[in-house]
Symmetry: C2
C-alpha cells in the first residue's frame, strides 16, 4: 500500500445556483483543483453524488463529468452513499492510488438541489432513510433527526437553547469563508427565535438545501513534491456502516457506525482523539454535531452539547469544529459535503484558512455521515512537515 | 498489485418479482454467492445499481444491503455507471482486493424495475443519456439506439432481418439457463413479426425491463484455494468512458469507449481477441451486439452483423456470445447485468454451464455498457488450470 496525499483542491461557492447545471458545478470544482495541482490529465475520476437522478433527471454522472471536463476516455464512476457520497468517493480514490491502480486521481463531490420544489427535495433526501420501514410511515429525514434530538434532550436533561452554540459557532466561522452560503454571524437570540421545522429542530438547527461542488486531486505521497509544496497527507481513510433504520439500533443515541469508522481511522493513522487538532464534523442538524463528537471520542456520552456550551468547539477551543462554517453555514449540498470538509481541512493544514487559521494545525479529521449514521466515512489528514 | 480471483457466484432468476423488494433480491444473490464461496464475512461490499432512487424510492443501497445481509459495520457503497453499474462495482471490488485494501470482497449488482409503470421506467432509463442535450429534446434510450441502428443499416447496407441471428441465438442459449427470464427459443419468423417499438427496433431486438440480482465474491488468487477449487481468475479489469451524448462523437457507429476499454483489458491480460473463447457482450439491443463485436476487435467495422449471419456467434461458432441468453433472453435488470455476465462467464469457466457448456473454455470476456457506449467496463476471466 502506498501513502497518499492531496495535491490540489477546488470548490465552488455554495448557494442557489439556478443558472448553473450540475455538470457545470462539477466542472468548476474539478478545473480549480486541477489548476491548483498543476495537472492536465488524470488516471481516474470518482464522482460523489446522491440525487442527480431524482433532482436533475441525470444518472451516469461519472461519464458525464469526465466528458464535460474534457477528460474523455478516463475511467470514471459515480459513488453514492447518501449524504456521505462525497467522502465515499474520496475513499474510492484513495483505494485506487494506495493500491497502485492509479497515480493521479480526481475526486469531485457535487449536488444540485435547488432546481426542484422543496417538497420534492425533502422526499428525495428521505431516500437516505429506509424507504420501506421508515419513510413509508411518513417520516422525513428532518423528522428522524427531530426524534433523535427529542430523545437526547430527554435522556440527558438539555433544553433546546443548549444547542445554540453549534449554530452560532458555524455561522461565526463562515464569515471569512468566501465559499460559504451564509457568511454572516447569528446570535443566540436569533437561534432561539428561528421558525420551527420539526420540533425541536428549528431553521437554525438545520443545514440548508443548496448547490455546490468540491474536488481534490490525489497522488502517491512520494510523487507529491513533483506537483506541489502544499501536499496534505491522508493519514487514514475509513468507512463503516450501521443499520439504515434508526429503530433497528440497540441505542439510537450512540452512532455505532461513526464510532467504528473513527476507530478504524485512529488505528490506521496511529493517533488518539487527543492528537486531533480540529474536526470537520457532519452538522446536518445540531443534534448530529453532539452525537458525532461523542461517537468520535471527543466527549463522553451526553456531553457533546456540554462541550459546545463550554466553548470548546470554537476556533479557540480544545477541539474546533466546522472551522469554515460547517454544513450549517457553509452549506450542505449533500453529495458534495464530504469533499468540502476535506478541502477545508486541507486549507487549515496548508495554512490558507485566512482569519480562521488554526495555529500549528497538524492533524485534522473529517467525518461525513450518510443517513442517520448508517454510512460514516472518516478521514484523518496530516500536514506534511 | 495482487492477482484477484472469483471464489463464489450467486444469482436470482431474472423476471418480474412483484413480491420481492430490492433489498431481498440483493440479499438472495449475496447469500448464494457467500454460500458458494463458503464465507460468512467479508471486508467490503460494493453494490452496483442504477435506479433504486427513481424506481424504489431508496438510495443509500450500500448500507441497506449490508444491513439486510447481516453484515453490519462492513465498508459498503453503491456504484453507479448507468447500465454498466454492475461491472463498475466489480471493478471497484477488484481494485480494493488487488491493491491490498481488502481480502474478501462481495460485489452485488441489483435492479428492481417492474414495480413502476412502463413510462416511468423509460424516463428513468433515459437518465443514462444526456439529460440536457438529448433527453430534453424528447429522445428516449430506445430511440437513441434506433437512430444508431437506422444509420448502421444505411451505412453498411443491411436489412432489419439481418439482425435476427442475435435474438435467435440469445433465446436459444437461454433455454437451458434456469435463471433466464425468457427460457424459450424464437424463430427468425417470430423475430420479423414482432411489434415495432422505435423503428427499426422491434420487441425482439430489445432486452426486457425486469428485476434481478447477481453477486460474486473476490479474494487474492493466492488465497483462493483455501476457499474453493473452482476459482476463476480475473485476468483483466478495465473501465473507459466516451462522450455521453451520441451527437458529440466523431463517428456514432464506432464505440470508442468500448474499443478503449477492450484494448486496456487485452493489454492487462496479455492476450489478443483471437485468444478469447467466448464473449458475454451487452446486447441491450441487437445493434449494440454488432457495435460491441466490432469495437472489441472480433469483426471489422460493419461486419458484426455478418459474423452473426454466418453463425459465428453461436455456441458452435468462432466467438460465442450471450452463452446463457444475454441481456435479450436472460434479461437486463440494468445495474445487475454486468455481474450476471461475469457469473455466467464463471459458470462456463468452471464447467458448470450445463447443455450450454463450451468445450475447453479457458478465456472469457465480458463487456458491460452504460448509456450508448459512454461507460464501458471490460473483464477478462481465466480458468485456473
Amino acid at each position: 500500500m502506498r501513502d497518499v496525499s492531496i495535491i490540489g483542491i477546488g470548490q465552488t461557492k455554495v448557494g442557489e445556483h439556478w443558472d448553473t447545471s450540475i455538470r457545470h458545478l462539477a466542472w468548476y470544482a474539478v478545473q480549480a483543483a486541477m489548476k491548483d495541482a498543476g495537472i492536465e490529465r488524470a488516471d481516474a475520476l470518482y464522482v460523489g453524488n446522491m440525487l442527480s437522478g431524482e433532482l436533475s433527471g441525470q444518472e451516469h454522472l461519472g461519464a458525464l463529468v469526465a466528458d464535460f471536463a474534457g477528460l474523455q476516455g478516463i475511467e470514471a464512476v459515480k459513488i453514492e452513499a447518501a449524504c456521505a457520497s462525497g467522502a465515499a468517493a474520496l475513499r474510492m480514490g484513495y483505494i485506487a492510488v494506495a493500491g497502485g491502480m492509479a497515480d493521479v486521481v480526481i475526486v469531485v463531490g457535487v449536488e444540485k438541489m435547488t432546481d426542484r420544489p422543496g417538497p420534492e427535495v425533502t422526499s428525495a433526501l428521505a431516500m437516505a432513510a429506509d424507504a420501506d420501514y421508515e419513510v413509508l410511515h411518513g417520516v422525513s429525514f428532518v423528522a428522524l433527526n427531530a426524534l433523535l434530538m427529542q430523545r437526547y434532550m430527554h435522556e440527558y436533561g438539555y433544553a433546546h437553547e443548549d444547542f445554540a452554540p453549534f449554530a452560532v459557532n458555524a455561522h461565526r466561522n463562515a464569515v471569512h469563508n468566501p465559499y460559504a452560503m451564509f457568511p454572516f454571524p447569528i446570535t443566540r437570540e436569533r437561534f432561539l427565535a428561528a421558525r420551527m421545522i420539526a420540533s425541536p429542530i428549528n431553521l437554525l438547527d438545520s443545514s440548508p438545501i443548496c448547490d455546490g461542488a468540491a474536488a481534490v486531486i490525489l497522488c502517491p505521497t512520494e510523487q507529491a513534491r513533483a506537483y506541489t509544496d502544499k501536499a496534505v497527507r491522508i493519514a487514514a481513510s475509513a468507512i463503516a456502516t450501521d443499520t439504515v433504520a434508526v429503530h433497528d439500533r440497540r441505542d439510537p443515541l450512540f452512532l455505532e457506525g461513526a464510532a467504528l469508522s473513527a476507530r478504524r481511522a485512529y488505528k490506521q493513522a496511529g493517533v488518539t482523539p487527543q492528537e486531533i487538532d480540529f474536526f470537520e464534523l457532519h452538522d446536518a442538524f445540531t443534534i448530529m454535531s453532539a452525537l458525532s463528537l461523542e461517537a468520535a471520542g471527543f466527549a463522553e456520552r451526553g456531553q457533546g452539547v456540554r462541550l459546545a456550551l463550554e466553548g470548546e468547539i470554537t476556533l479557540e477551543g480544545r477541539i474546533p469544529i466546522c472551522t469554515m462554517g460547517g454544513l450549517k453555514a457553509r452549506g450542505h449540498p449533500v453529495g458534495a459535503t464530504g469533499v468540502y470538509q476535506v478541502v477545508e481541512a486541507a486549507l487549515q493544514l496548508r495554512g490558507e484558512a485566512g482569519p480562521n487559521q488554526l495555529p500549528n494545525a497538524r492533524l485534522g479529521m473529517t467525518q461525513n455521515i450518510g443517513g442517520s449514521g448508517a454510512t460514516v466515512v472518516t478521514h484523518i489528514l496530516e500536514r506534511l512537515a
